[in-house]
Amino acid sequence: MKDYLKLAWRNIWRNKRRTLITIASVFFAMWLSLIMRSMQVGSYGHMADGIVEAFTGFMQVHKDGFWNDQTLDNTFAYNSDMVRGIESDDNVKAVIPRLESFALASTGELTKGILVVGIDPVKELDLTHPDRKIKEGRYFNQSSTGVLVSGRLAEFLNLELNDTLTLLSTGYHGASAAGIYPVEGIVEMPNPELDRRLVFMPLPVAQEFYGADNMLTSLVINVHDSDDLKNTKKNIQELIESGFYEIMDWKEMNPELVQQIQSDQAGGYIMLGVLYMIVGFGVLGTLIMMTTERRREFGVMVAVGMQKKKLGLILMIEMLMMGLVGAASGIIGSLPVIGYLVHNPIRFTGEYAEIFESYGFEPIMPARFEGFYFAGQTAIVMIIFILAIIPPIYSVLRLKEIKALRS
């Protein structure tokens, strides 16, 4: 066997140009598919994060039936025993209380329907990091009684720091909810849709506004490891009183997002498929060309007494070597590019960016490293390569020496 390997290796490098062309075709196949895949995976992750980490969190506990009927009458009282129980789960990073409801926001002439988000000023820091998003003014402190307004909303209502915002709504049990609040800060939400309609309030202030003392619409749960979400969800389900509470994960709360990702993924696979076809044929072409070029050489060897089987074996080893070199260099070559894109995602501008924003996403195309797709791509490219080897080897095995010698 060692002889074969030596023979194969020497054979390859006898014709450098031919070898390099073959290696290059595999290299490109690997390189391109890895980069494309990293960007696809990055986009989905970005879309999911945009919603999950910015707003809904990984899971939420509500009063049973709240999700289908999101009114204040479906709120529940804060139960510290239950919260402690949930927090004791290993995978749970934080349990964050929220009171969210609709309200009309107005300044003088302009009015807009918005979402009031009552947050625990301290606990919320672990989830959506509102303190990092402050554009003007400052984040809540212990004694705050004002509001934080999202950027585009503040623009629409012509609000500046320390202006007064009027809020009007229907409260708990049909009470009137009305109040005026100073603008303590303006926050910038990366998701444009959220940026147009959020008003943050300290939780007690929101509870007072809606006449919903000690009531919450949800407990948002943040986890350490999002891959283990299913198990954590099951554990928490056992802790909470069934029939009274419901627990939902971010996929259940955002079915449209999940479908969007799925349909995008399908498109992505098709693109990859096309790429593989093109590259596959490229590789096949190179290999056939190589075999045809060396026909005379093969003819001589067979005529002199070499068994076709052994010739075939050596050729196969030659091709596999080239394939492996190409694949390895493709993987290594892709790493710096993907690394760069992870930290400096492509940022869209102009009309294309607007399309993104109208769907509610930040207009970037980020990339992600994720072990499984590296392995997957490598496997696929190798399989394609092996398939491409078959026709040329086959033709060698069926070689007619006379014809070959005459070529």
Partner: protein, 260 residues
């Protein structure tokens, strides 16, 4: 030539004429009577000129209950002003009705809001009385045709059962209303409200007849929506004074902000 049957013919036609002459007025009188009954019943509660009252409304739901106390001034059919006095969260809000427009003043946010048509079908302050009901209640005399269809006893009172059908071009949400009005004292003991497809939507019942403001009137009302199990709104009349003069200027936006 004389027709031998001529006398017979003449006699029949005179008889028919007489019968028609007798019945038509009876029927019209009946309809007129019905209208008069409704009108009298309406004036009994609203006062012929003005009324001032203090009422407590209780909104009952399967899982909770809420009480609102308010003062109510009315003049004629077009003007009314309501001032909410309890609970603390609602206190100070006023509602002004002028003709077909309704306004709301909220002192907490210092805003005067005109209720848009889209809000008319919503309950007033979350109750089962819709804004539309409160606005249009006075039109039962003018916007409908009235007919006595039966006589029934409700709670020991002999009542006329009167059917009210809205006029063609009346801007009214009901397809039909049936009211039981007591023969004596013209008390609106019971009302049933139907939509255009003849489905019963809500029922209003009157209780606790006593003398208030110098008249014998019900002091408690219950409004029960048909569709929602366990929902109802009760209104109790705490005090009422009839026909004390109230100036027109009382029913104004400026007064909404000042009235106590």
């Amino acid at each position: 030539m004389l027709n031998p049957y001529m006398h017979m013919k003449r006699f029949t036609s005179i008889l028919t004429l007489l019968l028609v002459a007798l019945i038509v007025p009876l029927v019209t009188v009946h309809a007129q009577d019905a209208r008069e009954i409704i009108k009298k019943a309406d004036e009994k509660m609203q006062g012929e000129e003005t009324s001032q009252s203090i009422m407590t409304m209780t909104i009952v739901r399967p899982t909770w209950q809420r009480e609102i106390t308010f003062k109510n001034w009315t003049k004629g059919r077009e003007n009314s002003l309501v001032l909410v006095t309890a609970p603390a969260k609602e206190k100070g809000q006023t509602f002004l009705k002028r003709d077909i427009e309704m306004w709301n003043w909220n002192p907490t946010i210092n805003r005067l809001i005109k209720l848009p048509p889209s809000m008319m079908s919503q309950g007033w302050m979350g109750s089962d009385f819709s804004n539309d009901d409160l606005l249009k209640e006075s039109s039962i005399v003018v916007d409908y045709t009235h007919n006595i269809i039966e006589e029934e006893e409700i709670d020991g009172w002999d009542c006329y059962k009167i059917e009210l059908i809205p006029l063609e071009d009346a801007a009214v949400v009901w397809g039909k209303i049936i009211k039981w009005i007591s023969k004596e004292e013209f008390l609106q003991m019971k009302s049933e409200f139907f939509d255009e497809d003849d489905y019963l939507i809500k029922t209003e019942l009157a209780y606790d007849i006593k003398t208030m403001g110098g008249r014998l009137i019900p002091s408690r009302f219950e409004l029960i929506p048909e569709e929602d199990e366990g929902h109802k709104t009760m209104v109790v009349m705490d005090e009422i004074i009839f026909n004390q003069p109230i100036p027109d200027s009382f029913f104004s936006q400026q007064n909404m902000k000042r009235v106590r």
